[in-house]
Amino acid sequence: MGDRTLWALAAVALLLAGVAWAQGGVSTAVAGLVEGGRLLWLVALQLLLAFLIAGLAQALVDEAAIARWLGRGTGWRGLFLASLGGALVPGGPYVYYPLAASLLASGASVGVLVAFVTAKNLWAFSRLPLEFALLGRELTLIRFVLTLVFPPLLGALAELLFGGLVERIRAEVPQ
């Protein structure tokens, strides 16, 4: 999370404050901040718990162990293992893409890698508590259940259509 994100968001907030001021004067500009504070207070405990869960998950997950058993299974079993590994890996793209690249270098298939990345994006166990806290139970559950099948499914599809390209993909990536 860079400083640029913070400044961009701050600019958006300032712009909105300006619009609110134009719409209803100082009272509306202040009311927006009060409303934001009230909503933050409502989810404060959930946020704290979500951060605690994310921290504990990160401490408990052994990335090297995940990388070891990711390559083990073949076929659907391999795709499920890869999905499970992706779901367990904590951290942002600067963590899981280097891991995926090292899996590619050590012989993982296109399907396994697509399943791994897609599960990281859609199952993301350590992100779920935060999603739950900020977006609510209904939206989180619907989103999670509807996307549940896609990590292994897209892995299988990618392997079926493009599995033969794996050597060329591997050759393209700096070892």
């Binding site: 999370m1 994100t5 913070l6 961009a8 968001l9 701050a10 907030a13 909105l16 609110a20 719409q23 209803g24 509306t28 927006g32 901040l33 409303e35 934001g36 504070g37 909503l39 409502l42 959930q46 946020l47 718990l49 951060f51 605690l52 869960i53 921290g55 504990l56 998950a57 401490a59 408990l60 942002g92 793209p93 893409y97 280097p98 995926a100 890698l113 697509v114 990345v117 897609t118 994006n121 859609l122 935060l130 999603e131 739950f132 806290a133 900020l134 977006l135 609510g136 209904e138 939206l139 619907i142 989103r143 509807l146 996307t147 897209l154 990618a158 493009f162 060329r168 393209e172 990536v173």
Partner: protein, 159 residues
Amino acid sequence: MTEANLILGVVAAILLVYAARRGKAGEGVRIGALLLRRTAAVLLVAFAIIGYVNVMETGGLIQRWIGPDSGWSGLLLAALAGMLLPGGPYVVFPLIAALYLGGAGIGPAVVLVTSWAMLALISVAFELPLMGWRFTLIRWGVGLPVPILVGAVAQAVWG
């Protein structure tokens, strides 16, 4: 809200006990606190944005573009917006929550989360140099229809 607290509390407690038995509870709490410290400023600003969206007269703009009756164009717009959303979950989830509270439909809201999670261009920027353009194109391409598909189902079933 108390039910959500309870569920998260139970999950946290189980993880805490498990971590304690492996001697990793302290490390976990420290990492959690570090994550919170690093994202606290962003969270505060994000909630100011939610507050403004809530009190402002948006003239039904959110509802018209990505409301429950916005149809396929709403889903498509949400998919594009999701790809362009910047930053991690700490930034993106509060913004989507603001749009949802401001009148976005369940379908477009699901599309926003899914599209950001799978197709965000900001993560493609990490993917391209590390995985190459072939893999990036394959993964992004097979995932492309997914957000709109799940959004359409969400809107049809829960809308």
